[in-house]
């Protein structure tokens, strides 16, 4: 009950005055404003050092969170792509008219429910798929290369793959269906490993950030001990004292966090340019795109960076609150 009443009675509206510049706060209704001089000094050497530390840690945390987010998004896109497609393979050996067979199989597939697109690959298309392994040579066309039909399935109402597989085997010789299950399983394993690795790295960076923020805030708080003492001696309630410090440190955390997050956003924007400057050419860019998708953060990624700022500012505020209560407890 005490916690609930504490939360209800907390001067939430005054927190805004700690975050916004004085000029903007002056435009707000009276309940959002704090009258009188700031009891906690707005600037100090220790406070400036804390701002720098918070900005750097937010920058690193945003880079890690954004990077993990990009890899995760890209991995999910791979799985989605693969899961949306099946491949039909036609054995060219012992088939008199492979083109006719391709047409018949394609027509058969197009009639099946849950299939949205059937795309027979030409012999040249199949040969191109082998080029990375065999090189560009005319002799490829002389090889008995299996012919492929790419089939896109409707993810919202997928077909019964087993039924199609059985029907194909019964109606056509030398036709097999590959639903990419083995690939999907492998890609899922890779994406899960990547995601877990990313989360582990993010966890480590988060732990380091939390530790640095707590120690830096504690250090800044120790320089404010005299203020806590004076407020205590003039009869201020603990809630008043803690709210003064919370407002100050929340504002400091938000400003420093935004600086770090902004720097991280700029870094993400400049990532392709940085790779180019470091000597990466078009191939590097293509490989990066394959690994990280577009290589740019989407709105979700930027929201994640904002979440990092909220966590950093919240931690800063909470640490100052605990610091105030620790000092006050020492007088009890």
């Amino acid at each position: 009950m005490s916690l609930i009443s504490d939360i209800q009675d907390y001067p939430w509206t005054s927190l805004l005055a700690g975050i916004l510049p004085a000029r903007l706060t002056a435009l707000l209704p009276a309940r959002f404003q704090v009258t009188g001089a700031q009891i906690v000094p707005p600037t100090s050497i220790v406070g400036n050092a804390l701002t720098v530390v918070l900005a750097i840690m937010t920058f690193l945390a945003c880079l890690t969170a954004g990077g993990v987010y990009m890899v995760n998004q890209s991995a999910n896109a791979w799985v989605d792509d693969i899961a949306s497609e099946i491949t039909i393979e036609l054995d060219p050996v012992n088939t008199a008219d492979i083109e006719k067979k391709m047409t018949l199989v394609s027509l058969f597939l197009a009639k099946q429910r849950g299939i949205t697109r059937v795309k027979p690959l030409t012999a040249e298309d199949s040969a191109k798929l082998l080029e990375p392994w065999l090189g560009e040579t005319v002799s490829i066309s002389a090889l008995p290369i299996p012919r492929l039909i790419a089939v896109e399935i409707d993810r919202s109402s997928p077909p019964d793959i087993e039924v199609i597989k059985t029907a194909l085997t019964q109606n056509f010789d030398g036709v097999t269906l590959d639903d990419h299950r083995r690939w999907q399983a492998e890609i899922r394993t890779i994406t899960r490993s990547t995601a877990l690795g990313g989360i582990a790295v993010l966890g480590l960076v988060a732990a380091a950030t939390i530790a640095v923020i707590i120690f830096a805030t504690r250090s800044a708080m120790s320089s404010n001990r005299k203020i806590i003492e004076v407020l205590h001696f003039v009869g201020a309630q603990e809630r008043f004292i803690s709210s003064e410090f919370e407002r100050h440190f929340l504002g400091l955390g938000v400003r420093a966090g935004l600086m770090g997050a902004f720097a991280a956003a700029v870094a993400f924007q400049l990532l392709p340019l940085m790779m180019y400057l470091l000597g990466g050419g078009a191939v590097t860019a293509a490989e990066t795109r394959r690994l990280l998708g577009s290589g740019e953060l989407d709105i979700g990624g930027y929201l994640l960076c904002l979440l990092v700022v909220v966590v950093v500012a919240g931690l800063c505020m909470l640490t100052s609150r605990l610091g105030v209560f620790r000092v006050l407890k020492s007088y009890a």
């Binding site: 004076v230 205590h232 309630q237």
Partner: protein, 220 residues
């Protein structure tokens, strides 16, 4: 108003610096607290102000047993007490006026309601020209007067002053004593810790004398 029953105080596992201290402070009374340096005057004041807990014995402040009070309750009692510290404890980033107004601000009063009172009091203690000055540029005596003004601005029921005239010249010292007497006449109980005998001779008031941790009351 204040009652000490067999109060003892020791810091950590050190020797007892206050032993069997027993006394009463009645509403509207004026006491000098005296004794040689290191006799425990400041510690006794801190016990009175509830910023220290006794090692033994009972302390009643405004009828409340301090040991039974939670922290918020002690803060509420502290608002009824004004305290002047030997080392002033002014906040360096606030002006003299803002320092003096601080107790009213923490009580949640509106600035418009107390602005004139703060200015008048500062003029009365001779700091009318230093209203906007920061403590860093005040002299020792000016800081002392600002600290006293901060302690009395709320018209406390009890005023505790630790060597309030230690940093001022005799003329200002006498003026400050007159301020304490005036407050006392208006109903504030005053406990003034000092070892300035010339100051004590100016006023007929009971003396709480601390010596080697024990308290003797004289002049009642």
């Amino acid at each position: 108003m204040i009652r000490f029953d067999n109060v003892g105080l020791r810091y950590g596992s050190g020797p007892e610096i206050l032993r069997d201290v027993t006394f009463h402070v009645l509403p509207g009374s004026f006491h000098f607290l005296t004794g040689p340096s290191g006799a425990g005057k400041s510690s006794l004041l801190r016990l009175l102000f509830m910023s220290l807990r006794p090692s033994r014995g009972l302390i009643f402040v405004f009828g409340e047993n301090v040991a039974d009070l939670p922290r918020p309750g002690r803060a509420a009692l502290r608002r009824r007490i004004g305290i002047v510290f030997q080392d002033f404890r002014l906040l360096d980033h606030l002006t003299t006026w803002e320092n003096v107004a601080l107790p009213l601000r923490v009580m949640g009063k509106k600035e418009s309601d107390y602005a004139e009172d703060v200015t008048d009091l500062l003029r009365w203690v001779g700091l009318g020209e230093r209203i906007h000055a920061y403590p860093e540029i005040l002299s020792g005596g000016e800081k002392q007067r600002a600290a006293i003004a901060r302690a009395v601005i709320t018209r406390p029921e009890l005023l505790l002053a630790d060597e309030p005239t230690g940093n001022v010249d005799p003329a200002i010292g006498n003026r400050l004593l007159r301020l304490f007497v005036e407050l006392n006449r208006l109903g504030t109980s005053v406990i003034l810790a000092t070892h300035d005998y010339s100051l004590m001779e100016q006023l007929e008031a009971p003396r709480l004398m601390l010596d080697e941790g024990q308290l003797k009351v004289s002049g009642t």
